[in-house]
Amino acid sequence: MSQRVILPLSMPSITPKKIAENQYEIEADSNLGMKVPVRIYANDALLQKMLTDRTIMQAKNVASIPGIVSHGVVLPDGHEGYGFPVGGVAAMDAKEGMISPGGVGYDINCGVRLLRSNLTEDMVRSKLKELVTDLFSSIPSGVGSKGSVKLNHSQLDEVLTRGVNWAIDNGYGSSHDAEVCEENGQIDNADPNKISDKARKRGLPQLGSLGSGNHFLEVQKVSEIHDEEAAEKMGITKGTITVLLHCGSRGFGHQVCSDYLRVAEQAMEKYNIHLNDRELACVPNTSEEGESYRTAMFAALNYAWSNRQMLTHWTRKSFERVFNQSESDLDMNLVYDVAHNIAKVEKHKVNGEERKLVVHRKGATRAFPANKEEVPLKYRHLGQPVLVPGSMGTASWILLGQPNSMNLSFGSTAHGAGRTMSRSKARRNYTEDDVKKSLNDKGIFIKALTRDGVVEETPHAYKDVDAVVNVSHELGIATKVAKLVPIGVIKG
């Protein structure tokens, strides 16, 4: 195998060609080393925004990685990242293609889960401050060295191999929770022996913590139902309260990515892969280094599922305390848990032929349609639930995976609203009081660990999540089930 890939670092002008409603394409330019075209799924306004930063350039770079299949994907929430764009999918041939730590990102198995309840908005409003304050004090941020649970190394190994089931066996939930997680919350072939001491040190004190940045927990009400049948199956009723949780594998996953980025970067010479940007570093999927990264990344997937399960448990306990009812009285079932930074081998049809592909989803949510065996039994006849969180203070959506996702986006859709304003610009333009007042005017109560965190996550810094979701809906990759609006926010 000998490949030389030249990647541009400047930002040339780009004119994507419209090929259908909400679909644009950039042809494969072999002078740039592109192996496949890039497909962008967006409306005109979302596309224009992408053209103002490095999103498309980064997607073209990804289209140059050896073994990429069919087309690179930019979803409607796509924005610039580092190396790979965020809100993108890259599918590599499982035999001939690459696996790339950067194609998953640092926050391995960053994801979203949604809990339902039978509480109504009225019942929660009167105790909202008490609830949000209780949640804030019982859900650790995990910043600094103070951990919430004391783990030894063999317990950590169990977390890394058993994922959500470790948490459940240790009293943080029930088997019903595992049944509605992607991979049932436990992926096989995770290998704790592939984890560095540094990743262990970062992971030990942070299990069971929310983190900072864009991670949050939101108390929401169901404001609109768009698909009655699916909503009923998920236990979602208009006017009732839900809880949405967004977090990942904390410092553990960040370190796994950093460690294997260096492994991949140093192995590229051996495999004759030359990339101008080291952040795209990749190794053959079937190589020793590729296999090591996969089994380490899988351990981080399991860590994240355990982590979200523990936060779920503390959320339920907090509701129990504030409303003086048990979690079963409150019917606080897990609706679903999605991963949006992940790479897995899946079967997809390419030009009519079924192939095994390493599907890298970086800021992208799997959105499988009905009757796929990967969809939990409870939802298999319907399609996979998809959770798309908006920015703090705007709506979030429940969607349902549809057949067109298999035709257009390797079974994937958007993962959020997508940032449109830098953190520093948000700090220049808004104050903590501005943001809190505007949230308060909308009836949203917030408790946050940091002042800058509130300002940087102002809803003005994000694209319109409704526009993002509309593109997904109209393309038939994942369609609307219900809209959720926040009434309380906990921010790490």
Binding site: L9, D53, H79, E80, G81, Y82, G83, V86, G102, G105, Y106, D107, V143, G144, S145, K146, K198, K201, R202, P205, Q206, G211, S212, G213, N214, G251, H254, Q255, C257, S258, L261, R262, E265, D277, R278, E279, A281, R419, T420, M421, S422, R423, S424, K425, L449, T450, R451, D452, G453, E456
Partner: protein
């Protein structure tokens, strides 16, 4: 000796100008510390030793950014000042001593956790001083 932030949608894209390599690494440390907390609010009460290493300057910078983040976030140690030396043998190595105190989220105005350094568009140029550019994932 200075650092500035380039515009980026989500992350910290930092450029550093300095007179020499040591000053560039010192400025880089200041940038990382100030992204995380207010450095001027930290008192020098304790010290903590750490080291970074790399086969070349880019790997050294990556390791340096990683180790400072580890001290700040995982060890929960707010840093006011770092004393260090860069040694070049087969590879580069930095032996460092950080002065500061246990992290106090309120007192030090904790801002955000840095997830990790990246190699994305990383640049280190040594002519008429030292120029560095790197992106931290927040």
């Amino acid at each position: 000796m200075s650092y500035k932030f380039l515009d980026h949608a989500t992350d910290a894209f930092v450029e550093v100008n300095a007179k020499d390599l040591k000053e560039a690494f010192a400025t880089t440390a200041d940038a990382v510390i100030n992204i995380t907390l207010d450095q001027d609010k930290v008192e020098e009460k304790n010290q903590k030793e750490f080291s970074a290493n790399g086969k070349d300057l880019r790997y050294l910078l990556f390791s340096w950014l990683e180790e400072i983040t580890f001290v700040l976030i995982t060890e929960g140690f707010a840093i006011r000042r770092i004393e260090f030396d860069i040694v070049q043998n087969d590879e580069y190595k930095i032996q460092a001593k950080a002065f500061g105190e246990p992290l106090d989220l309120q007192k030090h105005n904790f801002k955000v956790e840095i997830k990790a350094p990246t190699f994305y568009e990383m640049k280190i140029e040594q002519k008429n001083g030292v120029f560095m550019r790197f992106l931290l994932d927040l």
